[in-house]
């Protein structure tokens, strides 16, 4: 029988209701058509989770997936893809984390895990090669994510066990609870942690002693070496390596893309206080890296002075600094580190958590709510003491935290229509630290993302601060200068579509967007070569593009079945009507409609409904999707 290398060709299916564990063969046609990672995720959802499924019910499923490059020497191949129907957006949801979990799962002998059903009492899944057990997690329930990982490791007296788990936020079904993956890294978005919590699944622990074999070892090794070298020598790698994503704080503030006071503006006046320069000087105590990563953006931060002295955190990202900092107008970096640590302990998505708090702080400023509605907390901008209290309350759904745990979109419904203007979300998911008014491509990408507001599904970086060298390499010299101008919309729909297809492949391989999208070192050609030599698939750039497009279209089809149409492909009015006062974005809004029309055209989606056209789906081999969509009453 035909078999691909690069995979373990086995996967685990766990039914929590029946307490049944089975090991099955990874379907060959899934590998051919969906590659792995989030590709396997959407395929499973499509086949097994009807679109009308209530995300926190027994019927929803959770997929944890690796890809053909996981657990090899390919640069930055340590990421884990997690997919489910999202309790935050009620559509397709996925999240993706760095760390070491996916490689360990591959070494244990599995390509992915499907979790279905619902346990009656807290359990955790333990995988050690052929030994797969569901064990009681009564003693872990209520513990924070760091404690959970530590207790499991102590139980087996093995520090090399890799754990992914939820904290109290996931247990309490906070709609934007995350899954923490191997100590401080987070599969944050879409509320994947709440899905785990709803199933009473506290953690998955894995230890593997096996190996990953590739099709043409020497050729694969040579391509990986070449790829690693391309990443290492890229001009942007050094900065990323030294400062990590916080380097963006200064950069994005400079171009007016750094959301401040709930997107009132795209810059703050205290960038020196919360930027990467200060972080590096005062707080970075160690540099770390995820599995096989030559960039190493991960850092270990320690606060050594002041009221937060002794607080440590790992991987404090640009996004978290914005969400827990500037979005709430909080200029106290020590408190941002503390808040980040708390979110990691409780298992909360920092972007959504900060988004929710920024939302009510603005409502307070506009006198649309009173502190009384929020347990009397002082909701003035930048009050980090309030923020610390609120984060705790959200995680445990205590007091007003119960309301805040529902996310911006639902909260706005509860607080009345006047608050809608300030609810910065797309399809129910809070908008990350990327103000589209300063970068049009990002404005579009937030809208066309299949998991609601998000920067990583399309991750356009070419016009961020402008990378002409890479733009020429990827899209041709004739596209300059517009393509690298963040305020221009020309070529941006093409860039976003290409980015989405490429990111779909990245999330299915599963590698990191660093090294691929930013620094923009590896592209279709390199990935196609790596996947080919790893797996033995008959694959080239063209075929890989088709896989990316197929995955993205199937995700879109799932959203369509969930009720998403063109009317939902939009941004909050603020970003469409209110001109940005900041830097290069000054005077600009997101020019969405024009970009969207062109985007649908490029995608082969219907312009009035936003539904993928039948011939497009058939051309991608998604006949089944074409039929299901056809049957919808429109």
């Amino acid at each position: 029988m035909k078999k691909y290398f690069g995979y373990t060709n086995k996967y685990i299916r766990v039914n929590l209701t029946k307490k049944q564990i089975s090991v099955l063969s990874t379907p060959l046609d899934w590998q051919d058509n969906f590659l792995g990672g989030s590709g396997f995720g959407i395929k499973t959802l499509w086949e097994e989770v009807p679109a009308n499924t209530e995300p926190l019910s027994e019927q929803n499923k959770l997929i944890i997936a690796t890809g053909p490059l996981s657990g090899t020497v390919w640069p930055s191949a340590g990421r884990t893809a997690i997919i489910s129907k999202s309790p935050l957006t009620n559509i397709y949801g996925d999240a993706n984390s760095g760390g070491f979990f996916a490689p360990e799962l591959k070494f244990a002998g599995y390509d992915f895990i499907v979790i279905e059903g619902k346990s009656k009492e807290p359990v955790y899944l333990f995988i050690e090669q052929d030994e797969i057990k569901l064990l009681s997690a009564e003693h872990l329930w209520g513990k924070n994510t760091f404690e959970t990982e530590e207790i499991i490791r102590k139980t087996y007296n093995d520090d090399q066990i890799k754990v992914l788990c939820i904290g109290p936020a996931g247990e309490n079904l906070v709609r934007y609870a995350c899954i923490m993956v191997t100590y401080g890294r987070s599969a944050a978005r879409s509320g994947m942690g709440a899905v785990m919590g709803s199933k009473y699944l506290k953690a998955i622990a894995v230890r593997g002693y096996g190996k990953v074999e590739v099709w043409k070892p020497e050729k694969f090794y040579a391509s990986a070496k070449k790829a690693q070298n391309m990443v290492r020598t890229n001009e942007f790698t050094e900065g990323e390596s030294k400062y990590g994503t916080p380097a963006l704080v200064e950069l994005m503030n400079e171009i007016g893309r750094f959301p401040t006071r709930n997107f009132q503006q795209g810059h703050c006046d205290y960038v020196d206080q919360i930027g990467s320069q200060r972080l590096q000087k005062e707080f970075v105590t160690r540099h770390l890296a995820c599995f096989t990563c030559p960039i190493g953006c991960d850092k270990y931060y320690t606060v050594s002075k002041g009221p937060f002295s002794g607080v440590t955190t790992v991987s404090l990202e640009y996004e978290s600094i914005s969400a827990l900092g500037s979005k709430c107008d909080n200029s106290n970096l020590e408190s941002i580190i503390k808040l980040d640590r708390m979110c990691n302990e409780y298992g909360l998505d920092t972007i959504s958590t900060g988004g929710v708090i920024a939302f009510i702080m603005e409502l307070n400023e506009k006198k649309l709510v009173s502190p009384k509605q929020f347990d009397g907390h002082d909701l003035s901008w930048g009050n980090y003491e309030t923020m610390i209290e609120l984060v705790k309350k959200i995680a445990y759904r205590k007091g007003c935290g119960d309301m805040l745990a529902e996310g911006v979109a639902r909260l706005s419904k509860m607080l009345g229509p006047k608050t809608e203007y300030y609810a910065m979300h797309v399809k129910g998911q809070e908008i990350p630290a990327q103000d589209g008014r300063a970068q049009q491509s990002m404005g579009l990408a937030q809208v066309t993302s299949t998991r609601g507001a998000d920067h990583l599904k399309g991750f356009p970086t070419i016009d961020e601060t402008g990378y002409p060298g890479e733009a020429i390499k990827r899209y041709g010299k004739d596209k300059l200068p517009e393509i690298v101008d963040g305020t221009k919309i020309k070529y941006k729909p093409m860039v976003v579509k290409d980015g989405e297809d490429f990111c779909a492949v990245i999330d299915s391989s599963v590698v990191c967007k660093f090294g691929t999208m930013f620094p923009p070192a590896l592209y279709w050609e390199e990935l196609a070569e790596g996947i080919k030599y790893a797996t033995g698939m008959d694959i080239d750039e063209y075929k890989l593009k088709k896989i990316g497009e197929r995955i993205y279209n199937l995700e879109r089809c799932y959203d369509i079945l969930c009720g998403i149409r063109r009317k939902d492909d939009t941004l909050p009015q603020r970003l469409l009507k209110e001109k940005s006062p900041s830097k290069r974005a000054k005077g600009h809004v997101v020019y969405l409609e024009e970009m969207l029309n062109e985007y649908y055209e490029l995608r082969g989606w219907d312009k009035s409904t936003g539904i993928p056209k039948k011939d497009k789906l058939i051309q991608l081999g998604l006949t089944d999707a074409a039929e299901k969509i056809q049957k919808l009453k429109l």
């Binding site: 020497v73 520090d159 190996k211 990953v212 890296a289 990563c293």
Partner: protein
């Protein structure tokens, strides 16, 4: 020769494990690597563990079948897999955990700085691929001065504190 590891530069990415297991078996597996990075994630620390290439190797002493020898000229402790009985005495005797055991093959495995790897010239593959230059192969005569220089650099980083030390 000696595989010097700068613990401060090591970020714990484990590329060396992948490179090393590939060098031996043409596949990727941490348990088949002669170098292993232990991680203390709580404190953000990484501890790569590998053979120290001892001058009087205990592993060589305890080997019942003469599978371990010392190449005195190069200063490398070499393990002959053909002679290995898989008794694990070397694994147990090494105070540094420098020798591993490959369950699938039933033999010990240790770092020989790629001296028996069929590539010409024999260069330690992990040194070449470590993204953070945390690994450096030192010749016998370099070891002392190199390590001293590294430690000198580290102390200097202490800045003012260092000045008070030397005053």
């Amino acid at each position: 020769m000696y595989l010097y590891i700068d613990f401060e530069k090591c970020r714990g990415c484990r590329t060396c494990e992948m490179v090393c297991s590939f060098r031996w078996d043409k596949s990727f597996s941490p348990t088949r690597s002669a170098i292993v990075v232990f991680k203390n994630e709580k404190e953000g620390k990484n501890f790569p563990i590998v053979c120290q290439q001892c001058s009087k190797p205990l592993c060589m002493e305890v080997c019942l079948n003469g599978a371990i020898t010392k190449d005195e000229k190069k200063g490398v402790v070499i393990h002959d897999v053909e002679k290995c009985l898989g008794c694990k005495m070397c694994v147990l005797s090494c105070p540094f955990g420098g020798i591993g055991y490959v369950a699938e093959l039933g033999v010990a495995r240790k770092c020989d700085l790629c001296q028996t790897y069929s590539l010409e010239p024999a260069v330690a593959q992990c040194e070449k691929m470590c993204p953070y230059q945390a690994i450096k192969v030192l010749k016998e005569e370099e070891i002392s001065s190199y390590v001293k220089k590294e430690i000198y650099n580290r102390i200097q980083k202490l800045g003012k504190h260092y000045e008070t030390l030397i005053r």
